[in-house]
């Protein structure tokens, strides 16, 4: 008993507390960056859910000829109350089609958050399935799957997404699909590595000796133990996916007008940078804050959930 290392004691205490997840949550609460990240994401989710209440106008409605509006032409530089403008109707001014920019940015949160979450969930599901198959089956199946993943990784991610969308045709769904494909190899590699190390552990060997089916071993024993790094990577991935989706929309390959999407708003207004820079400024800030939220949370989770990956 005296020879027990402190680390082992700590581990034992963890198991006594019953739940590694609770422990992780406790760790997460101590990390200021994770808390900030959670705060940002929480606020954004609320904004996205209650967008119609937060926004002041219809995001795709043109304000020309609407009663009570000044009838300001879109070609005139828009007016921002925050910068001392007299017309208090539009918080961030109007865009070039005389739509309320503030409402468009608010509704943009819906698009960007759902794109981020959907692409990453899809690529986690597909990538993990492929990785687990490769790792558990080994041999030729493993070789085939992983070489395929190598080829996908050989393309710079955005370039591959662009090529895929070129063929499928521009649009948010196709952009989503293109980005998903570029993310799959990450999760395949991660889950394969976990499976390979777990496969030979005693509790798995014991289960196999008891005659459990491969499905049961994978689903009940390997996956729950392999999921942590995937979740961490996924949180960090959501930020990147949002950036990629915005980039595709910026190039005209993603969300199509009049959908309020941040990259798309930037793409519409970038030729007017020198006359009305705020049209470019605010959607970019929105993207940055969102991605920052996911990055901070992801970093915090990595530190809390996986001490081995701790990069201080």
């Amino acid at each position: 008993m005296e020879r027990r290392q402190p680390a082992t004691l700590a581990l034992a205490a963890r198991y006594r507390s019953g739940n590694l997840w609770l422990e992780a949550l406790r760790n997460l609460r101590r990390s200021p960056s994770a808390l900030l990240g959670m705060g940002i994401i929480g606020a954004l989710v609320l904004i996205a859910l209650f967008a119609p209440l937060v926004a002041t106008h219809d995001p795709i409605k043109t304000m020309i000829g609407v009663p009570g509006e000044t009838g300001r032409l879109p070609s005139k530089p828009p007016c921002i109350p925050l910068l001392g403008c007299e017309e208090p109707l539009h918080i961030l001014g109007l865009d070039l089609n005389a739509r309320d920019l503030y409402s468009r940015v608010i509704f943009g949160a819906r698009t960007s958050l759902s794109v981020g979450v959907i692409t990453i969930s899809l690529s986690i599901v597909v990538g993990t399935a492929l990785g687990v198959c490769a790792g558990y089956a080994g041999g030729r199946v493993d070789n085939l799957i992983m070489r395929l993943m190598d080829v996908v990784l050989a393309f710079p991610a955005l370039l591959l997404a662009i090529s895929i969308v070129t063929i499928l045709g521009p649009g948010l769904t196709n952009a989503l699909l293109g980005i998903t494909i570029t993310f799959i190899p990450q999760y395949a590699r991660l889950s394969r590595a976990s499976v390979l190390s777990l496969k030979e552990q005693e509790f798995v060997l014991a289960e196999r000796a008891l005659g459990a089916s491969p499905q049961r071993i994978v689903l009940a024993h390997i996956l729950p133990n392999a999921i942590t790094p995937i979740i961490v990577q996924g949180t960090l991935g959501i930020g990147t996916a949002i950036l990629d989706a915005a980039a595709l929309s910026f190039l005209g390959l993603g969300a199509q007008p009049p959908t309020p999407e941040w990259g798309q708003i930037l793409s519409e207004s970038r030729n007017y940078l020198f006359t009305s820079p705020h049209l470019v400024f605010f959607p970019g800030i929105a993207i940055m804050i969102t991605v920052l939220g996911f990055n901070l949370l992801g970093d915090g989770m990595r530190d809390a959930l996986d001490p081995r990956l701790n990069r201080s």
Partner: protein, 358 residues
């Protein structure tokens, strides 16, 4: 070392083949008749038949794939549908812009990122450290194209008429027409058709300025490069700074550093010789991984700064449905990416003997 290099080379070949198969499949997956796309809607069946035969399009798919691979190895990427010129020629024209942009972006990222990361680690938890980490977090969260637009606005509009003003578009001041170095050196006369390699090199403005000792051209080219290079380099900079910091932090806590300190080495020798040297390995890997980011960044920023590089050409070709160009550029960029990764791996093996023997 040689076995390691050969092994790594052998490993790249299936990946390169895979890239060719993927681009081939992507091109064949494009809906629509290639004959009508190339020759126009009014091409008759006879003309199409001849076109198919000439391009080997009536062969079975595996044979077509072989033709495609053979052409690629021979440097033939087909003709662009939009420009009616060989894709290879367009590549020689436009790749130099991107290579130059990427080089300076990476130079910026490394020369600022590494020292910043090392200093933050050395002064762990100081104001500099905290500031760098906050900056790095913001840096990786910014969309490249947005940063480019903001820089253009800041330096071309807000700082207009100050010494800090920088041009927001183009590679050189309009009207500038630099003499290629091969003509300045008298190797070729004006109007001669130079080798592709020479043309390629002469189109890298800064290199051309260096070879012709043209200071004015150099300054002009650099002034135009600063904004796009900073925009493309910021995300890699943030990543490199973070990696250098954590890597140096880790190596500073190692036993050999304590030993170096204990035997009374000066602090500079401890950090420079012992900690830094060992900490640079992961940093080199990260720099290698950033080539992809630089390429993606170039694709997005070239459009903003009106640079006619591969990125902008690629994006324009997508909207005009110039599939051969998209396919050709994609395959060349991906192949270049694989080769760069291979070189980085080899460097890694060269610097860390443990890699070679495992």
């Amino acid at each position: 070392m040689l076995t390691f290099v050969l092994k790594r080379l052998a490993y790249s070949i299936p990946v390169l083949l895979g890239i060719l198969v993927v681009t081939f499949t992507l091109a064949r997956a494009i809906p629509g008749d290639p004959c009508l796309a190339v020759l126009g809607e009014r091409a008759t069946e006879d003309i199409c038949e001849a076109f198919f035969r000439r391009n080997g399009l009536n062969e079975p798919l595996p044979a077509q794939l072989l033709i495609y691979i053979r052409n690629f190895l021979g440097g033939d990427l087909g003709d662009s549908l939009r420009f009616h010129r060989p894709v290879m020629e367009l590549l020689v024209d436009r790749l130099p812009t991107t290579v130059e942009l990427g080089f300076f972006a990476l130079l910026f990222a490394i020369s600022v990122g590494v020292p910043l990361g090392v200093l933050s680690a050395y002064r762990h938890k100081s104001a500099l450290d905290v500031g760098t980490m906050i900056g790095a977090n913001i840096g990786v969260s910014m969309p490249v194209f947005w940063l480019g637009l903001m820089l253009a606005y800041l330096f071309a509009v807000l700082l207009k008429d100050t010494p800090l003003a920088l041009p927001p578009s183009g590679r050189l001041t309009p009207g500038a027409n630099p003499t290629p170095f091969y003509i300045a050196a008298g190797w070729l006369a004006e109007g001669d058709e130079p080798l592709g390699v020479l043309r390629f090199l002469s189109r890298i403005n800064t290199l051309n300025a260096l070879l012709t000792l043209n200071g004015e051209l150099m300054i002009d080219a650099l002034r135009h490069l600063i904004l796009p290079a900073v925009a493309v380099g910021t995300i890699p900079l943030a990543i490199i700074a973070r990696m250098s910091r954590s890597s140096v932090l880790e190596s500073l806590s190692q036993d050999y550093v304590r030993t170096a300190r204990a035997k009374g080495l000066r602090e500079r020798a401890v950090v420079g010789k012992h900690a830094l040297k060992n900490a640079m390995l992961p940093v080199i890997t990260v720099i290698g991984l950033n080539f992809g980011l630089v390429i993606s960044g170039a694709v997005l920023t070239e459009t903003i700064f009106s640079l006619t590089g591969v990125g902008r050409t690629l994006v324009d070709s997508i909207t005009s449905r110039d599939y051969t160009l998209v396919q050709g550029f994609t395959v060349v960029i991906a192949a270049g990416f694989v080769l760069i990764n291979m070189v980085v791996d080899m460097m890694y093996g060269f610097l860390d003997p443990r890699i070679r023997f495992n």
